[in-house]
Subunit: 226 residues, 4 copies
């Protein structure tokens, strides 16, 4: 039986009908990549219950690799996060209506936790494949950062030494097209379509497959042989 | 025999090995779109000789539609230009080494000429297809603007009432990846990779095919029936 | 009696309480700069009546120099416009509620008119003074572009050969602060505060005074001696 | 005798002749703000020796408040940092020629430390004064982040509970003007002047004075009464 790669996406939020992270988690669910069987799951964009959902997912899948995905409006590249910080400070409410302000994700928790994916190896592999990718020192303070912090925290508590990280994704082209169509039709204000960068879903999927494959090697290197 | 759609791209310039406009002109050469046979040609990025090349191309192809293409570093969307202005003011030298400064393209020519493509119909069709596109009031003052101005000027002098315009294209993903790889390797300065947006070639091709098809309808409406 | 420099600003619009262009037109009204007496006037942000207001102002002041000012949200530098185009295409309604779409400013008018200020001399003088300035090939398609096109058109019809142009201004710092305070208070959506650049009013005033002085020299050179 | 506010700036780096952070540290040196006597010091942009310089400064000044300042090219607002991370990853070499890559600042140190300034109170006060300010979740991975992390780490080791943080500053207008003059003169490549936002030194100084005053109140509240 193959070891598992847990890939999470988020549901649509912020008025969007789409979220590329959910599409990717769905698209890769069941795939075999780098010897790992992908379990792709989509999570609600809600702070309440997020920690519990993560605990359950980890217990259920006992993954050898964890990559969480999320949308970064305006971002033009695949963006690999280096840190999750212990801060929930939402600029917009989550899908459950919560708008946390300057809150700790884990009370008395560490200020930040560092992603444990092989970041530079992933960057190198994707750039060699012609896929725009960059490392980032901040995942923000919304749900994307929260899931990264919570995953790293949960793995740390369990002493599970599996590579874990977060990848931010650009808009899908359809999302930008929809914004411009809505602005043209007077449905949204023009300055609400400030972010214009996007990336094709197929290219995102190539990027994610490669990131999983590169990480799987690192995961294999850390696992005791059976 | 089908009427012709003349599609021009530009060679690589500015240190790039690639130019999406050349790739698209090549990819569509010979295609039949909207009843028009595409003649796709790639032009040197050189002001000297550009007017003559345009004259020859027009005489040779006697097109029913003309769309010139070019790269807009940093642009994130398909960008449809509304005007060509009578100004050549280059921020970098062209491939022949010329760096024009505040020069008229056509001495005593009109200050600007308006593109004659069905701009709003193209915008509407592409947005409906989920392709990010926007109209722009400036094509800059480099070769992209020059070819648009020269094409419109040449058609005007001939009294050929065929739709003519210019489409600016984002970087290809490979170009952004190459910039970041070069910056990481210390080959270029970090701030030289300021522009991070890109678009998949396949998506650009879908956009261009649709723009040609929509324009072909307009071209047909203007042609006398035979 | 001194010859006149006509400086126009616009009233606040788009939900703003302030417009730096109005503040500057007011601040310089009556000043003597480069031998010219400044007449500073603030105009309504309304397409209807704009042409008539311009005609009246020109007849009343018979200026030796005309510089119109306006706000460019998000712009970070003093921006000197090179062209006004014959296009009114509003992304937001003007203060009279008009939202023109793809309309000609002057029916059958030229596609564009070039500003007649000594652009490079102004740029050079301001950069030497340490003031961020850049030349621009597009004033957009809102009121700022319209007033530039109408002014150049009116002067052309009168055969008045006086330097005339348009300067776009960044937000005032107070405007950006207000946006962020409003977003923090939940009064506006977060993505409505996308534009963060601003410039101190005092620095803008220094820039404008210098631009007038440099232009006044050019104006003097064109006037017949008395 | 007044308690001390330690304010540090950095020397010029990256080819610049100026650094607003050094100018501010110099300008405020000796000032009495909110009951605190400012000691303003400028530090070399060099990783080697930075930790020792910080230790010496703390021992020498025994400050009741510490604010480090630095330049953030392209930033348009006063930017208050929330975290310093344990990462030195330089995109350009420091002034001593070191270009650290993926290095820990403090081996085995915490992944990050949170700034202890009264961030929201400062934000509120500055926005009320009409000064553009925003909170940021990343100070980057260059010297600015390093000094913040090292200061917080040093204070933690000493168990000194004094407010400490870092403020990123925009370019001075003169710096942007110089970039554009150099690009126009062909001395630098055009894309090296990608960052155009700036802020007047006087406005930065108002911002810093206000931030010190607001923080001094917090510092006073934490100090035992004598």
């Amino acid at each position: 039986m193959s070891a598992t790669a847990l890939i999470t996406g988020f549901e649509a939020y912020g008025g969007w009908a789409l979220n590329p992270s959910a599409q990717l988690a769905h698209a890769l669910d069941g795939a075999l990549i780098g010897g790992l069987r992908v379990v792709g799951r989509t999570l609600p964009v809600a702070m309440t219950g997020l920690a519990q959902r993560i605990e359950s997912l980890l217990e259920e899948t006992r993954p050898a690799l964890v990559i969480a995905l999320g949308l970064a409006p305006g971002e033009a590249m695949i963006r690999l996060e280096r840190f999750g910080v212990n801060l929930a400070d939402f600029e917009i409410a989550d899908n459950a209506g919560a708008r946390l302000s300057d809150a700790a994700i884990v009370p008395e928790g560490a200020a930040a936790r560092a992603a444990t994916l092989p970041l530079r190896a992933i960057e190198k592999a994707l750039l060699a494949d012609g896929i725009p990718i960059r490392l980032s020192t901040s995942a923000g303070a919304y749900l994307c950062n929260a899931i990264l912090y919570l995953l790293l925290d949960a793995l740390e508590r369990r002493h599970w030494r599996v590579p874990c990280g977060f990848i931010h994704l650009p808009y899908l082209p359809e999302q930008v097209a929809m914004m411009f169509a809505d602005a043209r039709a007077g449905k949204i204000e023009v300055n609400q379509r400030a972010d214009t960068a996007s990336m094709d879903l197929a290219l995102m999927e190539r990027a994610l497959r490669r990131a999983i494959a590169v990480s799987a090697e690192a995961a294999a290197a850390r696992r005791p042989r059976g």
